[in-house]
């Protein structure tokens, strides 16, 4: 590739206060290529993207587009010249229609008024282009996260796009939707669009990208051709340590559950139309993996078991008591806690400090009047920051400024501070890097060894299999089977979750 790069960044440096989030990084992007940006959480991927898309000003360094030096004062400047992005956390307006979201900021106008017909037509075209069969006039918030993600992409490509940044675009997509997205990416590539692809799924990186740039601690590690880079070398480049240290620890075997009383036992749980008559048992010290396709009711089941959504039917028996769990408080007092898949909207309280986030649930449980003393709060926060290796280890930093993986750890710390008996984790490793992912998986294993029950929900079947002692298979809102994970292979599990007919 000796052609001129479409976009070239040299010596890019961005300071947050005194810390360099990005330090003298070079990055180039050629037309018609998919270029993966890899690195751990906090390596500077998001910062680099923001610098390219004009969301953050460069403290030093030069950005060239077609060889011309450009300076973007705002994302709008970048969009003007065809640099668009789809961020990790979906930044659409759920209360507007799909068409309005797609045309946001570039609404077609006639006589100065918005031309609604043209807007709908245009949205329809783009959606058809993406092979997405939804009504442009429907309200965005009604659609699943996956569809919203695709709409975000539709919005980015609805204009004349030259550089498209996809930050974790697949984290909320299932296999079919991923394939669909990759088809779209290939298509854009053919049209000469340069694509920056950020994903923690190594498989996807290898499948789709032509080149890889690796960052670590805000610095450039190197740029590689994907086909020349071994996976093991890529992981080592990202982590700066050998992949050996990342092996998941072996799980202790739990005694065969059939004889003992389960910690939680749910029968015929029904919630709306999403969960219909689900049965589930959780033993003490067991990790129960939950596998199912998007829309199989994974999240709904988790929310029903933890008192977040009301049951329309069925009973949940916790340690033999079947008092209804009406709200999260009641569940927490029974030792049942839930970590949502939506870290940002249902987890982290962004403007509160890490310390306040960690102590929030414990404080809420103790009540308003019995405040945890500041010294005790600090002690608690520091011990969890230390135990879970939350970085940066600063308890006073607003939690919203942490990277995704560290926010997830803060959430785990909040729940673990309650000394729960059952931890329900909904996609705890979504959108976090390989290193943090293994840490979370290992933590789950350790907790279970100490007698905690864990329900582990993930769209990554391989992960469910690795972490869980048993795997509950969810299909259309029912638990169709529960299988010891030793009896399964990833392929067998894939076949089970995709099976159209429940087992008889």
């Amino acid at each position: 590739m000796d052609a001129q790069p479409l976009l070239e960044l040299t010596g890019a440096t961005v300071y947050f206060g005194a810390d360099a989030a990005l330090d003298g990084v070079d990055f180039r992007l050629f037309p018609g290529e998919v270029h993966s940006l890899m690195g751990e959480n906090g390596a500077g991927k998001s910062t680099l993207i923001k610098a390219i898309t004009g969301a953050l000003p460069l403290s030093a360094g030069v950005l060239r587009l077609d060889g011309q030096v450009v300076r973007f004062g705002s994302p709008h400047d970048a969009q003007e010249v065809g640099v668009r992005s789809v961020y990790q956390e979906i930044d659409l307006l759920p209360n507007l229609s799909v068409a309005e979201n797609i045309s946001l900021g570039v609404e077609p106008r006639r006589f100065g008024m918005i031309d609604w017909r043209q807007m709908r037509d245009r949205a329809g075209d783009v959606l058809a282009d993406l092979g997405l069969d939804i009504d442009p006039a429907s309200v965005l918030g009604r659609h699943s996260l996956a569809v919203q993600q695709l709409v975000a992409i539709a919005r980015a490509i609805s204009t004349d796009v030259r550089v498209l940044v996809l930050d974790e675009p697949t984290s909320s997509l299932d296999t079919d939707e991923c394939a669909e997205l990759f088809r779209i990416i290939e298509d854009l590539k053919q049209r000469g669009v340069a694509i920056i692809f950020v994903s923690h799924f190594l498989d996807q990186v290898y499948e789709i990208s032509d080149r890889v740039t690796v960052l670590r601690d805000g610095k450039l590690v190197g740029e590689y051709l994907t086909r020349e880079l071994l996976r093991i070398d890529l992981v080592q480049a990202m982590l700066g340590r050998s992949a050996e240290s990342l092996r998941t620890r072996p799980r202790l075997r739990v005694a065969d559950g059939s004889s003992e009383e389960p910690f939680l036992s749910a029968r015929a749980v029904t919630v709306g139309s999403r969960i219909s008559g689900a049965d589930i048992d959780l033993m003490e010290g067991e990790v129960l993996g939950v596998a199912g396709l998007l829309g199989s009711g994974r999240t709904e089941l988790a929310r029903a078991l933890t008192g977040i959504d009301r049951l329309d039917g069925g009973i949940i028996r916790i340690q033999g008591s079947d008092e209804p769990i009406g709200n999260p408080r009641a569940a927490i007092s029974l030792g049942v806690v839930y970590s949502s898949e939506n870290r940002r909207t249902e987890g982290i309280v962004g403007e509160l400090s890490v310390q306040e986030n960690i102590t929030l649930a414990l404080q809420a449980e103790r009540g308003v009047l019995r405040r945890i003393s500041p010294a005790r709060q600090r002690e608690l926060a520091m011990s969890w920051i230390d135990a879970l290796d939350i970085r940066p280890p600063d308890p006073d930093r607003p939690a919203g400024t942490l990277s995704g993986g560290n926010q997830q750890k803060v959430l785990l710390a909040r729940l673990l501070a309650l000394s729960p008996r059952l931890l329900v984790l909904d996609e705890p490793t979504r959108g976090i890097d390989v290193g943090a992912k293994v840490e979370v998986q290992n933590l789950v294993g350790e907790l279970a060894d100490n007698g905690l029950s864990v329900m582990f929900i993930s769209a990554e079947l391989e992960e469910v299999l690795r972490v869980g002692n048993r795997v509950a298979i969810l299909l259309d809102g029912r638990v169709v089977d529960t299988v010891p994970s030793d009896d399964l292979t990833p392929d067998a599990l894939t076949a089970l979750v995709a099976r159209p007919e429940p087992v008889g």
């Binding site: 961005v14 300071y15 947050f16 206060g17 953050l56 000003p57 403290s59 977040i308 709200n327 999260p328 408080r329 927490i332 839930y338 949502s340 909207t345 249902e346 987890g347 982290i348 309280v349 962004g350 403007e351 509160l352 306040e356 929030l360 649930a361 404080q363 809420a364 449980e365 103790r366 009540g367 308003v368 009047l369 019995r370 405040r371 945890i372 607003p398 400024t401 909040r414």
Partner: protein, 348 residues
């Protein structure tokens, strides 16, 4: 030095001090405090005394805003509590007896508490948007007050009632003690218990807070009850000052001044992080400004314009973006720290 400048109360405090200095330059007697019969008098004392109703309302508004809400009904609640209190005193056999007045004020405050609870019920239990929920009472409240006073302005002569706004205790206006008591009580309760941080959590992310087991409904409900109660006391002080229950004039536009005081103090209307000290400063800015206009003899028809002009200046002084532009113009010192992010961190 930079640490002082970056403190979030720096610019509100700076604005207040600037206003006071300007006043002192224009009229040196502004700072003068005289002692008569062991009681203190002067422009500053007047500001402290006259700010009491706005102070109470703005304190309640601060907590409501922290929960992501807003309480537009405070002015109407003031009118109702004043009407209730004065109607009871007026109808009593002995309007001058302290016990009569105390009972009347307790009932007036109690009614205000109930009105606050009504707002809280609409917002926290029925999930009605705060601006709509409190708009109901804002519009209906004055009608209720007129109903109580039979459509007249009820006037009373009652010494214990007048004492509330014009009386003195330990050489200082009694109304000031009410302000101080409210400020102290709220600061202590918010910061010595966990209420403050839980209120902020609910304001920043209600759903995350609920999932973490925070009683969001209770906290939101409580904020409106507090706001209603404080507005009730404010209504009594107001009526005491004019010795009448005027359903139309009591607390007119005070909801807007209270919101302004909260914002001038540095609490964001988005909810979440709040500062009681900032609100106190905001109230003093507004009250000092009112006193300035009075002194300068700004005709009442023009006073809103004057007021607005000064408020715009104060708001500009506090704007981080204006700071950035100003620093850019003065040669870009410390330019490395000028990124939008570092400013955002300071603001947080």
């Amino acid at each position: 030095m930079t640490k002082v400048v970056k403190h979030r109360l720096f610019w509100p405090a700076f604005s207040l001090v600037a206003l006071i200095v300007l006043n002192t330059v224009v009229r040196p007697q502004f700072m003068k405090i005289t002692v008569r019969d062991g009681e203190l008098y002067g422009a500053l004392i007047d500001i402290l005394r006259n700010s009491a109703p706005l102070m109470l309302v703005a304190l309640g508004m601060t907590i409501v805003i922290a929960t992501r809400g807003i309480d537009l009904s405070v002015g109407a609640v003031m009118a109702v509590s004043g009407a209730v209190t004065l109607t009871i005193i007026d109808g009593a056999e002995d309007p001058g007896s302290t016990s009569t007045v105390l009972v009347a004020m307790a009932v007036g405050t109690g009614v205000a508490l109930l009105l606050g609870a009504w707002n809280g019920f609409l917002v926290a239990v029925l999930d009605i948007q705060p601006i709509v929920a409190t708009l109901v009472l804002m519009l209906a409240g004055r009608g209720v007050a007129l109903l109580i006073t039979d459509g007249f302005i009820t006037t009373v002569n009652s010494e214990p009632l007048e004492y509330v706004s014009t009386g003195y205790l330990f050489a200082l206006p009694f109304a000031l003690f009410i302000s101080v008591a409210a400020i102290t009580a709220i600061s202590l309760v918010e910061r010595r218990t966990a209420l403050g941080v839980l209120t902020e959590a609910v304001g920043i992310n209600p759903e995350a807070s609920r999932l973490a087991g925070v009683r969001s409904r209770g906290i939101t409900f409580g904020a409106y009850v507090l706001s209603g109660t404080l507005a009730g006391v404010a209504g009594i002080i107001y009526s005491s000052n004019i010795r009448a229950a005027d359903a139309n004039a009591a607390g007119e536009f005070i909801e807007l001044y209270a919101i302004l005081a909260v914002v001038l103090g540095g609490t964001s209307l988005v909810g979440g992080k709040f500062t009681v000290a900032g609100t106190v400063i905001g109230v003093f800015i507004i009250q000092t400004l009112k006193s300035t206009m009075l002194f300068l003899g700004v005709p009442s028809a023009q006073s809103p314009v004057f007021f607005a002009a000064v408020v715009i200046i104060v708001v500009l002084i506090q704007s981080p973006r204006v700071h950035r532009i100003a620093r850019g113009l003065t040669g870009g010192m410390r330019s490395r720290n000028l990124s939008a992010h570092s400013d955002a961190e300071v603001a947080a």
